[in-house]
Amino acid sequence: MTSLAEGPKHGYAITLDVEQMTGVRLGPGTLYGALARLEAGGLIEALPAEDRRRPYRLTPTGTAALEGQLRALQQVVRSGLDRLRVVGA
């Protein structure tokens, strides 16, 4: 979902983006399993196919859900780093 935050992407572009962000290359089974679940949950939607590829984009619900998740993660990261600084001091 984070990969789709900057705009619609098709499967291959998502794979490259996720690999660049995390260092993990998603297999086609994992990628499309996740896309199917997100689509079923109304978090992403498919756009008309371009050639053999179909781009996906976040829905408004997906955008809100992603933002909520990222803010929660941000809070965890901030707290964790603060605590590390206290221990290290």
Binding site: H10, G11, Y12, T15, R25, G27, P28, G29, T30, L31, Y32, G33, L35, A36, R37, E39, A40, A49, D51, R52, R53, R54
Partner: protein, 295 residues
């Protein structure tokens, strides 16, 4: 070689999933290196897709198709159990007990009448789909082959049935008790195989043919009728089995079938179990089909 294997592994995914994501996955496989991990990932994905099918993989029309196809599968299993019920309760002794105990006679009659009605609903629902499939098969050789499979399977099963009857007659009686258990088991397994092939081929054809909303709606209506009839038949069958147990316990205790392993009462319970399960699954899947159609 790996790429070809990866493309072959895509065939392991559910049909609806392939229809929705297959082309995209093939495009992705063409653009990325295929390693052993990719093959393992595809296998894992296929298993997950079967265990937890995502609703997004099915378009509303495909969900109605899946519902109709599942009801047909339930009907085949139900019909097999129903045939067992018919064979278990046929004969002079059962006819006689039906006349002296009205509840037994009425329940048996209800089972037969409902079975005829349900068979009619199956034919009514299938005819528009078969007509559409035949019309499109002229342009699609692969679809022609898919449609030929159930016909061939039924023909083979008919030949096997004729052989079984011949064996029974050659033993001096047309009663199955005189037929070797081995021949009966082979015949039964062939029947199950034929039913499974018919279901698989019809499912394949159903997903290969483009169908308009009216035909799908007819299929869904008939699926509802068949599901309701299955539950009603199972209920009538249960009434019959209970009445037989209470009113004619001696008859219920007699050995049943060519192998004589189970009593008549136990056989009826087993058959009714399959009927109830198939009827319940059909009702659940039909309800899901209506939910999609109404959305």
């Amino acid at each position: 070689m790996s790429r070809a294997l990866a493309r072959a592994l895509l065939q392991l995914y559910p049909m609806a999933y392939r229809r929705r994501y297959g082309e995209e996955m093939r495009a992705l496989l063409d653009q990325t290196p295929v390693r052993a991990m990719t093959l393992a990932d595809l296998l894992r994905g296929a298993l997950a897709a079967h265990l937890r099918p995502a609703a997004a993989a099915l378009s509303p029309a495909d969900r109605v198709r899946a519902s109709a196809s599942a009801v047909l599968a339930c009907w085949v299993a139900f019909a097999a159990a129903g045939f067992g019920f018919y064979k278990t309760t046929e004969g002079a002794r059962f006819a006689a007990i039906g006349t002296t105990h009205p509840l037994l006679g009425d329940a048996h009659l209800a089972v037969q009448a409902l079975a005829i009605g349900a068979s009619g609903a199956v034919v009514l629902g299938a005819l528009p789909l078969i007509a559409a499939a035949l019309a499109q098969a002229r342009r699609q050789p692969r679809l022609r082959m898919v449609l030929m499979l159930p016909i061939l399977a039924v023909l083979v099963f008919a030949v096997l049935t004729a052989l079984l009857v011949l064996v029974a007659h050659s033993q001096g009686s047309d009663h199955p008790n005189t037929v070797g258990g081995g021949a009966f088991i082979v015949w039964g397994l062939a029947g199950l195989g034929c039913g499974a092939l018919c279901v698989a081929a019809s499912r394949r054809a159903l997903f290969s043919v483009s169908l308009g909303p009216p035909r799908l709606l007819i299929a869904l209506l008939c699926s509802s009728l068949v599901s309701a009839a299955m539950i009603a038949i199972a209920l009538a069958g249960a009434v019959y089995a209970i009445a037989l147990q209470t009113d004619a316990s001696n008859l219920a205790a007699t050995p049943n079938g060519p192998l004589g392993v189970l009593s008549t009462g136990s056989s009826l319970i087993g058959q009714l179990g399959v009927m109830v399960l198939a009827g319940t699954l059909a009702a659940i899947t039909t309800r899901r089909g209506w939910r999609v159609a109404g959305a």
